[in-house]
Symmetry: C2
Subunit: 480 residues, 2 copies
């Protein structure tokens, strides 16, 4: 398992590449970019709030400038540094994706982010209605920048592990399923083809089902009470889990409208939100190593884009759509950190820390898609990667970060190869080719069937209001 | 802080003392009993399922026999070993308190337990209605063994830290409160006097508010996934938290009936239950070191007995009663263990372990009562004890166990001094004298006021249905 396995360069690039933000993902992706894209390090530039305190940019020959981008300075700071055919890789929190995309389109620059982010404070801007703080709203706003018939420079939205890679895993899982039920198909080439395949297979629910097993190694400082620990950006996680509402793609098989659910007034209608944060919304889910687990229904762009792409028929009254959402069981330290944050009504407390170098090498991250309701019950397809393997595959990475950085690298390569594709999402890209690019970094790609349903083992001690006729109803998944 | 502080012997005892069960509490109380009760170790006998694998009984010159008590052998095993004026100290799980009490009354033996327990499987006996598995039901059954006018040998029910000690803390807190609002009172001598004092002070809600800060020391084996860790009996905790319903004393100020609440058909009517386990029922609470915290509403005998004793007026339509319940934030490892148990729908998984010798010495347990709704807002009074101090005070103890074993020792002393008091609870005993007996082992006895209410910091990001007119409504405490 060494660098020899990868073709050294997927692409040769002559422009400048500006990395905005240099947290765990920025640090982890830099060696991957330099490994797989032929470009001198002097053509890369890092802009981040705190510069390069880890020294990782400098060690790779890349200049990092300590610049905090704001609505007031964004245009000036970007215009000084990039122009047509350059690349803006946005790995920050607190810098508006919309503002960056608009500016990149104006300047003719390519763009990629791992999450469509608002400006600092956007997730807790209480002047907005709750609907205005959803990923649904941010996605609609980004897609509205499209100019039909005039694609413009490629802007690849929300292209990390999830959102991002998991959209490809859903397509691969549909192909696997078709094969395993004895009705193999060629990969559809159009959006409707994928939706029809999912409908034909009877897929009712798709979880992005993740279990992060990573813990700090013995001898590392334990979590202090009130401290927020996570295996990736604390700020990013707290915003999506604690400050944004829970969101899910809403399937056509659902018979009961949740009391706290809300629809959107406009847009694709593929998703709804609940009037509560994801960290307060638990669901039953499943991964191969965990078996049954309770996870948090944290809002994520893929819940919306996958549901949207798998919709058949009219948006307002579709014929078919699966329920799609993220079911995330973060690492133990993050679970305890969330409990502390809940006690403070979702305000951050006393310090935060991203676990990376501290992680015990055997710690794994299981990140996959769980397709349910079809003839074979439940099928999980995903990446199972240990931190030891992640470190061997690429320095400055943990299991969690490498799943993201591999997808970022693949997305950058695709965008460079297709520089005039306009505003696109993972769901618009060729899944097999994209998976090929990232697969060397995903550890074991595991496919596993299960006869688990959210009704298994329920209600032996207390009555529960269950829908026993259809195990795959959202009511049955949700932890009341 | 050494043994010199304690009067060596509180009582001289000539009978036999049979300890049933020898887990963390049995092991921890043995040195306390031998320190404070003048009796030769040969007069003590331990009966437990697994004998004395730790060697702690043998080290104290006490014989331990490996005997599993069952409905079939109970009478024979007890009759062989005890008679009139002997003492049965029941520290087991899975042996029926009711059967033991009845037999002790027949044999003329004294009795004490820390929890009114059913036979093995009683908490998960699904032939019973949920109401039949409540602590309310078990308490009513035990109290029904009373023979008015013919007290019989003393049987002290549910006398550990909580239930037990906390009933005394409530009384001390009421005295403190009266003093601090400028209306000092002498300690009431009758039950109605205490209830009138609580009513006069405006106490609406009482939490038994605990935060267990203990963690395993560095270098100790970490929790394996699925393993259940706790600082006291795993089996005892899982039964009360996961298998029994959540129960609470139901106050007269409550304006809204919870949708999942149920009343009992008979008995004192002081408490209700929710149709769900306590481990699935979170409430907002407060301790001095934690500040605001989310805790589990775990059923406990004191929620019922304290509410019952503080009731004024007719049981069915009382004039005054506070809402009383346990709000328990167990140690971090137990919180994660509960999450695993939830995923298995409350079935125990792969192994269990009681943390005692592994605990990091600075780890503390904060156990107190939180009286709310009065003129000064909220008042917490309780024990704050570190494991280092607990170990210095008495071998074979952690902070958690010593709070229990000190109360057990005090209860045994009181029962020996008052051998014909019949079936009694902590609420029936003289609080000041009882606190004096246990206080040397409680670490810092801390009294702290707070302006915290469950409305503090709420609903800044999402609407919540709150009762803003009365912060002390159960609706406001409960985590939806």
């Amino acid at each position: 398992m060494g660098p020899a396995r990868y073709p050294q360069h997927h692409h040769r690039y002559g422009g400048r590449l500006l990395i905005i933000g240099f947290g765990s993902i920025g640090q982890g992706v830099l060696p991957l970019l330099l490994r797989h894209i032929e470009m001198p390090p002097e053509q890369l530039l890092v802009l981040s709030r705190r510069g390069d305190p880890s020294g990782i940019a400098r060690a790779h020959g890349v200049v990092a400038e300590a610049v905090e981008l704001t609505p007031a300075n964004l245009r000036q700071e970007l215009q000084r540094r990039i122009g047509a055919s350059d690349f803006v890789l946005n790995l920050s929190v607190n810098v508006s994706s919309l503002a960056l995309i608009a500016l990149c389109r104006e300047l003719g620059a390519l763009y990629l982010d791992t999450c469509v982010e608002p400006w600092d404070g956007g997730y807790t801007d209480t002047r907005l209605q709750v609907a205005g703080r959803t990923n649904y709203a941010f996605r609609e706003q980004a897609l509205a920048l499209r100019a039909p018939g005039n694609e413009g420079p490629t802007a690849l939205l929300a292209h990390g592990a999830n959102p991002g890679m998991v959209s490809y895993l859903v397509k691969q899982a549909l192909i696997d399923l078709a094969r395993d039920v004895g009705a193999p198909v060629a990969a559809p080439t159009r959006r409707d083809g994928w939706a029809a395949l999912a409908e034909g297979l009877g897929v009712r629910v798709i979880h992005i089902a993740e279990r992060d097993w990573q813990v700090a190694a013995p001898g590392q400082p334990p979590r202090r009470p009130g401290e927020f620990l996570n295996t990736w950006s604390v700020e990013g996680f707290v915003d999506e889990a604690c400050h944004q509402p829970a969101e899910l793609g809403w399937g056509t098989h659902e018979r009961e409208w949740p009391a706290d659910a809300r629809r959107h007034d406009s847009g694709c209608q593929a998703a709804i939100y609940l009037n509560r944060p994801g960290a307060a919304t638990r669901v039953r889910s499943w991964t191969p190593l965990a078996g049954p687990q309770q996870a948090f229904l944290v809002t994520h762009a893929e819940s919306i884009s996958i549901a949207d792409h798998l919709t058949l028929g009219d948006a307002a009254a579709p014929r078919y759509r699966p329920t799609v959402h993220y079911a995330y069981r973060p690492c133990d330290d993050a679970v305890l950190s969330l409990a502390d944050a809940a006690a403070r009504e979702w305000r951050l407390g006393e310090g935060e820390r991203v676990l990376k170098d501290e992680i015990e090498p055997a710690g794994r991250d299981e990140l996959g898609v769980l397709l349910m309701g079809h003839a074979k019950g439940a099928y999980w397809l995903g990446s199972r990667l240990s931190t030891a393997d992640a470190r061997a595959l690429c320095p400055h990475n943990s299991a969690t970060s490498l799943q993201v950085t591999a997808a970022v690298m693949a997305g950058v390569v695709w965008a460079m190869r297709h520089p005039a594709a306009g505003i696109v999402e993972a769901d618009d890209l060729p899944f097999a080719q994209m998976l090929d690019l990232m697969q060397p970094y995903l550890g074991d790609l595991v496919g596993a069937y299960s006869d688990w349903t959210p009704l298994v083992g329920r209600a032996w001690l207390f009555d529960e209001e269950l829908d026993r006729e259809d195990p795959w109803q959202f009511r049955n998944f949700r932890v009341a």
